[in-house]
Symmetry: C2
Subunit: 394 residues, 2 copies
Amino acid sequence: MLNFEFQVPTQVFFGEGAEKEVGQRVKEFGGHKALIHFGSRHSKQSGLIDRIAGYLHKEGIETVELGGVQPNPRLGLVYKGIELCRREEVDFILAVGGGSVIDSAKAIALGVPYEGDVWDFFTRKQKVERLLPLGAVVTMPAAGSEVAVGSVITNEDGMQKIPLNNRKMRPLFAVLDPLLTLSLPPYQTACGIADIMSHVMENYFSRTQNTELGDRLCEACMKTLIHNGRIVMEHPGDLAARSEIMWAASLAQAGLLCTGRQGDWASHDIENELSAVYDVAHGAGLAVVFPGWMKYVFEADIRVFVRFATRVWNLDPSQFSDERALALAGIERLSDFFTQLGLPSTLAQLGIPEDIIKDQLEMLAERAVKNGGTGQFMKLYKEDVLHILKNCAG
Amino acid sequence: MLNFEFQVPTQVFFGEGAEKEVGQRVKEFGGHKALIHFGSRHSKQSGLIDRIAGYLHKEGIETVELGGVQPNPRLGLVYKGIELCRREEVDFILAVGGGSVIDSAKAIALGVPYEGDVWDFFTRKQKVERLLPLGAVVTMPAAGSEVAVGSVITNEDGMQKIPLNNRKMRPLFAVLDPLLTLSLPPYQTACGIADIMSHVMENYFSRTQNTELGDRLCEACMKTLIHNGRIVMEHPGDLAARSEIMWAASLAQAGLLCTGRQGDWASHDIENELSAVYDVAHGAGLAVVFPGWMKYVFEADIRVFVRFATRVWNLDPSQFSDERALALAGIERLSDFFTQLGLPSTLAQLGIPEDIIKDQLEMLAERAVKNGGTGQFMKLYKEDVLHILKNCAG
């Protein structure tokens, strides 16, 4: 086990009807005028944003609204939010949405009290010091941004997608009301599950020795996701299954599963380039890239993949000729699971035209290793990433 | 799943050598003069307390010391600590020890800024408002008090042992350095493991429906404890195993395993009376009481006990005549595990003389249900507790 620090400072309020208390939460944390930041038109049309505004007004908190956050949230809207908050003298940011909305809200909260360009934080020109107080109402369990230290913003100028991690960027509170997830369309539900699974697997596939408790906590999350993922695809209205997925999404990013171990984020790095360039859904991209990454790296420490196959997928070692076959069967189960969720398994299925793929794989591989290689389970360079991408092509 | 709130505000610093940074931690949290509160003479004689004082002095923090905390920490010493802190104008409490020391430190931190009698908080005459800042260096993984909301203090006047839970009572930081646990004697190590297992099981044995993630997180902790518990009994110097146990102890009490479910603390309630009256080691008492409680209540919802038998103890249902036999075999495995750790399995083995047991079981049972029954998995009244205690007698 490696030395580590652990804390979950974000106050999580989980459960049916938790949305109704959001006004009190904002008040408790000192908000007088809040920006309600959201994404899809659906949030507005469904009446959710008006309900949230109502809860705040009831507590005497004024509101302004800014919608329109897209998946892979854009810097342009962040600038717009910062300007709006300054003009309206907003003192609290309330994100209502999934990871993209919360990430966008974090960037706005970071930018309001800073005189320069908020992009400076993402390009590491400036250190994170202070954010406007920030809370989140989660509508899509996936990124776990509501308890996480990070924000990933895409600069439209060159489609650069850059993550920024700082513990000060955690929301003060997160409202997790599973009722809000009942109306999520199947594809978004599936993308969310793939994203959560990936977050768990990024911690699980570690070369650190003596990490039994961490391994088992990851397995607990994965088994729960697999079981309940299958249930919600068949019964989208199953609140119990939606609840399990929602809690798993937050726990996967709360800093618990990474304690004492070095994870591997190569798949995320590769997918981030895919979604930056082609603007594909992050979870769908991960469903393509993760099994590809696994097949390329598993022999670097096959024991971890054998454990994955036996403990997560309950495969019986005696049914396989050797560890290699067993490990590959575990990876195959994961691919099958993503397919059952209705997710793509190749770049082509992801909607990227074949001729484009051929021409641009080199460029993608180069971008994924722009910081001098990626990955910890196995360090990957351009040729490695190119190999993985070619295998994912379709 | 039930609605819940979750937060781990305590900053955990885990790892080899973490003790060395305790001076910086106290400084970061604003301490100028600290009470170092500890228990056994061993802490002092081993040089640990002097080392800790040295780390604080290096950061310009003055120290005063108060040792002598006993298992089942006493109100008398708490009073002494409060007086000392006031006289010496202490502004930070640093607990160095296990659960008893940390519980005692919490009570002192609670009492210093309060004008009345600190026992008022335990008797619910007074609401918890404010504590002196408090940190902990853990030397015995067991109670998890370093991240928990509670303190249990024994009033020597009538040997009343009363728990007090309030989220304000969580330490600001917890230093978990597994090196400090290497010298723990086998019996204390075993008692710690039984205590941790009990904390997990108190959450696990729940009648709440649809708690898959929570169930699996509990199972992850139990399997880790069983595996590493056996290792440390054979190889007390195994740092990796000590580390797993230490992290499990904190996680078991961090508020994670109880999310969304109603646990059952009847075993703890019953054991608390045992250790209040006979001053036995808490973990040893639990090793006796918990299996006894299980055998009495398991049929109230046998599915939970079947899950325990199959998932935690890997028992194969096809090897048992029915669910009842399978459930009982799981309980038997737990008893065997406690025996392997060298823990008692009867009240007699716990060192309570047989004639005393006979005379006093009624009194104990009465005390355990003094708040009108105990338990949630199955509500227990005096006759039930008496039955359990009789079965534990030996």
